[in-house]
Point group: C2
Chain length 158, copies 2
């Protein structure tokens, strides 16, 4: 179908979106690719989150989230978080994290960079909600661009 | 600065966003990269458009726009539409187009693929407005992914 074929021509990077529950005890991590910056001043980003997911519920409860860049040696991390996983202390399926002191969202220690965001807008239509977040804080552990889905024969679009 | 460094690690494709004036006489074309799909059903996409641009004014007037994929041999097209250009009959600076019969937006004939969209939501914060569009129609002239900014040492983010 033309529409799906065309939509699969969009290149995407890959990221792990991390969230916490409203009570702050539980955390979640999900691989996402529908992600873009949307403003320089203030710095805003937008991310599409599956409407029936635990991640979505946590963002609605807390109005905060973090985005962790998936770097060149982390394709296994991308696969790990295609499905929801359980927290085990300060790691999730072997991925160590620390909790951001401000938002309480997990920051994956192996990720090259991350952003902490608070929700400032959303468009809730279709099977994903588009959340717009203002970047509160960011960190860079090493300068390494996000891996590309197309380099790993992956696609989430169409 | 960490935030800008991190934001420049996001990979982007490149596209020409085409619009028409409310009267339908004038058209505009602008190179964009803040673009992502945001839903499968219905098919939605989102694009960030500079708030003080002619493109932005046209989208607000008409509630429709088209996205044209920039393919591998079209880097000059990307450069052409970094700034607003004047229509010359059925071309803009040598880029031939046809007008979509439904929306009236220009479809660039050299582009590998395109989508026609109607606006169904927006988040107007910061220096760009994020418009969410439902894909009404799409076309594929050849299966060729969008070129990557990083492959051409370009960046629009930070």
């Amino acid at each position: 179908m033309k529409r799906a074929t065309a939509l699969r021509m969009i290149p995407y990077g890959m990221y792990v979106l991390t969230t916490k529950s409203g009570q702050g005890e539980d955390v979640d991590a999900a691989t996402v690719n529908w992600f873009t910056q949307t403003s320089f001043s203030p710095p805003l980003i937008a991310v599409g989150i599956k409407a029936d997911s635990k991640t979505h519920a946590f963002v609605k409860e807390t109005n905060v989230f973090a985005i962790n860049v998936i770097g060149g040696d982390q394709i296994n991390t991308a696969f790990t978080f295609f499905k929801s996983q359980e927290r085990d202390g300060n790691s999730i399926v072997g991925e160590a994290f620390e909790l951001d002191p401000e938002t309480g969202c997990p920051l994956l220690l192996n990720s090259p960079a991350w952003w902490e965001c608070k929700v400032v807008g959303e468009v809730a239509q279709g099977d994903h909600t588009l959340f717009v977040g203002e970047v509160l804080e960011a960190g860079v552990r090493r300068e390494e661009p996000a891996i590309l889905m197309r380099d790993h024969n992956l696609n989430y679009g169409g």
